[in-house]
Symmetry: C2
Subunit: 197 residues, 2 copies
DNA sequence: TGCTCCATACCGACCGGTTAGTCTGCCGAG
DNA sequence: CTCGGCAGACTAACCGGTCGGTATGGAGCA
């Protein structure tokens, strides 16, 4: 039996990352001790520092995972062969569903940015910016084509929508009355309606 | 000369609260030590624990102050003698301006909720809920009158708007191209346009 | 096949440093 | 004299990170 798995068959690094994600979302980064993480993962500190350089390295991995996922999905929707209205709507709805599917990541994302080391913070911000710009390009495309109103700067429109996405982790509860798809549909509708010329 | 003031003439409790607000927003609650707060306020720990019961008492005071302010303002706008469209627009724009005027409070608000003790957290959530409901009532009133679309549940509309308000502290910079009033105008426009029948 | 040897994976006691909160006592105003 | 308002040394509890040590499975060789 390899030392890298326990009964669950899941490798140690992934167990650590999963435990850290849950705990960071639950109690916050600073309130989660390294000891608690390793206990939740069923290992000891030696294992954690064998795979990760530091506690904030662990946090950085959470960010990297989310950013990669969101960027891939946006690229797929934005690059589709469809009218800009549909592409924006699909992209806007998808980010909502993806966020709800990973609510822990979402609560960590904005709440714990300032816990990253300066260099990692810079890196995350840069990736985040690319994402924002890709989204903004969609809005601007629709504005040039005349299918979206130009009354509001595209930047603000994007921040308006992401604000609501960001806010999801504050109010959305899986046991509530709305499914992720329903919420996504409504929020995408609000965005598109706000953009009607 | 009373011991409660220094050269600035501002009483010690208020100095402590102001220093704490700035530092909590800057570095986060956990990263701010009590020592740093008292140094910034020009006093010592003795003074802090003379006026406040604990560190999280200080945080609670920040929340209480913000909640009181926002509730008062919303009550004024919602209760005005004007068509519901104007009342909602004014209220929506005002919360944006007020939030920008107190960006420190805003970044603390959502980021540090989970640092409050359970009872204080409960109290803050209850107040927050009252605020949410007052706002929602405005939307529902417009929906009943037929001036707002009923396509989206009022609850979601409110969360949509507050999401963008919440998000302000992430992207708004005072030295940016837009004044608080301009941002408020745009965000209120987006809300009202999304609500057009 | 059996044996040696070593890289990898992990353990857990330990360390330096920090923190929230306490407590004794001073000091000036009334 | 007394009492609110504060000073600041102190403590007990952690916390992130280190480091010497241990176990294991496979590569290489006889």
């Amino acid at each position: 039996m390899a030392r890298t798995t326990d009964g669950s068959g899941i490798p140690v690094p992934q167990r650590l990352l999963a435990a850290a994600t849950r705990l960071f979302a639950e109690r916050g980064y600073d309130r989660t001790s390294v000891q608690e993480i390793v206990e939740a993962a069923g290992v000891t500190k030696g294992a954690l520092y064998h795979y990760f350089g530091s506690k904030d390295d662990l946090l950085h991995e959470v960010y990297a995972r989310v950013l990669r996922l969101q960027q891939e999905r946006l690229d797929a929707f934005a690059g589709a062969d469809a009218p800009v209205e549909k592409r924006l709507r699909d992209a806007a709805a998808d980010v909502v569903v993806t966020t709800i599917d990973n609510l822990d990541d979402a609560s960590i994302f904005f709440r714990s940015m300032h816990h990253l080391s300066p260099e990692k913070d810079k890196q995350v911000r840069a990736e985040r910016r690319r994402y924002h710009e890709r989204f903004r390009a969609l809005v601007e495309e629709g504005q040039r084509e005349g299918v979206f109103s130009t009354a509001t700067p595209a930047d603000l429109v994007v921040d308006y929508h992401f604000g609501s996405v960001h806010h999801l982790s504050t109010w959305y509860r899986p046991d509530g009355p709305l499914t992720p798809q329903q919420v996504a549909g409504h929020l995408a509708d609000l965005l598109l309606r706000a953009l009607r010329p």
